[in-house]
Amino acid sequence: MLSQEHITGHAATAIDEGGMLTMLVPALTILAVVLCGLFAAMRVKNKAPAFVTVALLAASFVAVLMTYLNLGVEKTWIAHGFDWINFSWSGSENRKLTTHALIANFSFYLDGLTILWMLFVTGLGTLIALYASEYMSHDVGAGYCRFFAAFSLFVFSMACLVMADNFLLLYLGWEGVGLCSYLLIGYFYKKPSAVAAAKKAFIVNRIGDLFLALGIMLIYTHFGSLEYTTVFAQTETYIEALKEGNLEVIPATVQLIPLLLMGGAFGKSAQLPLYVWLPDAMEGPTPVSALIHAATMVTAGVFLVARTYPLFLLSEHALPAVAWIGALTAFFSATIGMAQFDIKRIMAYSTVSQLGYMFCGLGVLTSVGGAFHVFTHAFFKAMLFLACGAVMHGFAGQLDLRKLSGVGFMRGWKVTTVAMLVGCLNLAGFPIITSGYWSKDMILGEAFANPHTQAIGWILLLTAGLTAYYTFRVFFRVFVGPVQYEMGDEHHGAHEDAHGHGEATHAPAHATHATPHAPGWAINTVLAVLAISAFAIIPFTYSHGGWVHTMIEGSTARYEGAAAYLGHGEHAHGTFLGFEAHGALMVVSGIVGAIGIVIAWWLHYAGRTTAATSRADALLPKLGPIPRWAQHKWYVDEFYDFLIVRPLWVLSNIFHFIDQYIVDGIVDLFGAAPSLTGKAVRPSQSGELHSYAAWMAGGMAVLILIVILVAT
């Protein structure tokens, strides 16, 4: 598929002034953070933070775009910012002087993959910031600044993550986005559930981060460097050796690296078994869910795998593991998504599910498919979230699909509804006219095209049907049907009190939102732009990735060809029930999607008269406890709680007890030993002359006895 040169020739790297333009991205975003901080300090009570943020993010987008246009994607460029963790020392090994260094600079590594990611991160970031300027307007004041500061910081971190030229800077971005995610999930900090969700997100991510950190350490230990260029240059030699059939030439350490990196990727991208934080993360404001927890941050894991693709190729288990976990996650979370009532949570599970697709794409050796799906998903999932957010915003936090119906027929909700429909079609993979269809199909086809991953293909196909069902379940319940609604019981903005009297503001806030209010210009604009672009990107990406393909063929995809030599599977020899896989799947996946939509129509739209009930309700009892289990997320949270959190809590208490009474007790015992000994000796000081004399005589006798016994 790719020419030999692509595989063997290590892409040239160069340092160029043009690349320095990308340094504007972290600079501008940090500037935005600082400005928002200043606004907070100055107690600015208008929308200035939002507009500053939007402007600076737009500028970042332009900077990335300019870089792309200037440099192209044929070569890899290094843009050096400044030395971060960078030191060297000399030592001696076997009497030879050696020099070592640990270099992790604040430098950017620019190639197609990087720029692709940066384009949609900054682009979507700008749009969603614009959306948020209206969405968050009820919080104008301190909270507003906080929101946009964290938002900008997120883009900064994401830029570091994506553009890093070494693993440590990637790790900086990695944890940085985790921090922003924490801050933004916990934005409504008075809500205990939000605080808990934020904490959960951070901690679960940290588990993944630990694996990533260990992977990075292993990389450094093995390769002696953290910089991509050095590491990849060495992997080239391994790949060369592999192509000559020397499978045993790859050390076990190297084979372990991708497994560890995978741990990090699964944490950040919410895959089994670390996906549990993402649904809870919906406690955050919706723009956050859209940008961070749907479009960008959660794809960091995918990015990581794509970035370190050559390393993954070196282990025969790594990519299959990625594919299998992705497939299982996709299916598993789709089943949960089918049974939820909270529309944002449904979208969250669908994100988890779609991320599974992306990993599958990478796992079945179509990194183009993976990246393509990331790209399309970013647009339509952001759009779906933003549409849901508009609903939530308008209905005072109402998210229960049983309490909303026919929103699309209400005044002012047209744009939202259309956007929602476009998003749903994309997610469901409606054939031909949606970009989601093309990207998902690419993964499906590739899965079937490989005879070893047929099972994965079937799982994904089934999941595609489920996806179509639950997506349109939301659409049919909420946006069409009879007009009925029930307002939410909260106004999240009320938590941020501009006056400093937190207790007093609930009631009036509730009163002002007794009726729904339709989204304003900013929300509508953003939704419209996204809806259009969801279609607009089709020509760029149509069939086998198109533009996306050209973007990453120089970086990640060029290794796919090498995979053929690695025993990862005979490329393109698998079939779908005897038909050519890609061609057949174009048809089949379209049909499966359509079936899902039809079932959703039948169960949730046809003949529905109220918001709360539908035909599906009648069906539920026949399925036994399964819907209830699915609705309770298969009790995974409870399982984790029971298996990990509680034992740990008990253990901590035991430790605390041990520390107080045993460790400290022993210490205190040592401390008490003198006085205890003293108490034992004290009776000899009876105050009586004769007893003293007797003790003295006896003591002398004993002493002499000891001396005679020991010394002679």
Partner: protein, 117 residues
């Protein structure tokens, strides 16, 4: 112990046949131990003091015997001083006992055990 045996066998000169240094030392040791036992068992302050005198004089006997054995006068000289010191101590002891008796009308050593612990 071999030294003692040697000493005992080579006692020179023997004023009384068969009485060697060892005999003197035995007497001396016995006196010392008797004095110690008396000190530990008696409660009367004066008797206790006399017991310490007994121990002093036990040393005196041994010194004289050793002096005779070594054929020099260090031992005898020492004894003179011991006697003097013993006299001084006796004077002090009596004064002290009188002082104590005035306070408690008793010579029992057990009357004085307020300080302890």
């Amino acid at each position: 112990m071999s030294d003692l045996l040697t000493l005992a066998q080579s006692g020179y000169p023997a004023p009384i046949a068969g009485v060697t240094l060892a005999h003197y030392l035995f007497v001396s040791a016995a006196m010392f131990v008797l004095g110690l036992i008396g000190f530990l068992t008696r409660r009367n302050l004066i008797i206790m003091f006399l017991c310490t005198e007994l121990m002093f004089q036990a040393a005196g006997i041994a010194l004289v015997a050793f002096g005779r054995y070594h054929l020099n006068f260090h031992g005898q000289t020492f004894v003179i001083f011991i006697l003097t010191v013993a006299a001084a101590e006796a004077a002090m002891a009596l004064a002290l006992v009188v002082l104590l008796f005035r306070r408690k009308e008793s010579l029992n050593a057990e009357a004085w055990q307020d300080l302890k612990g």
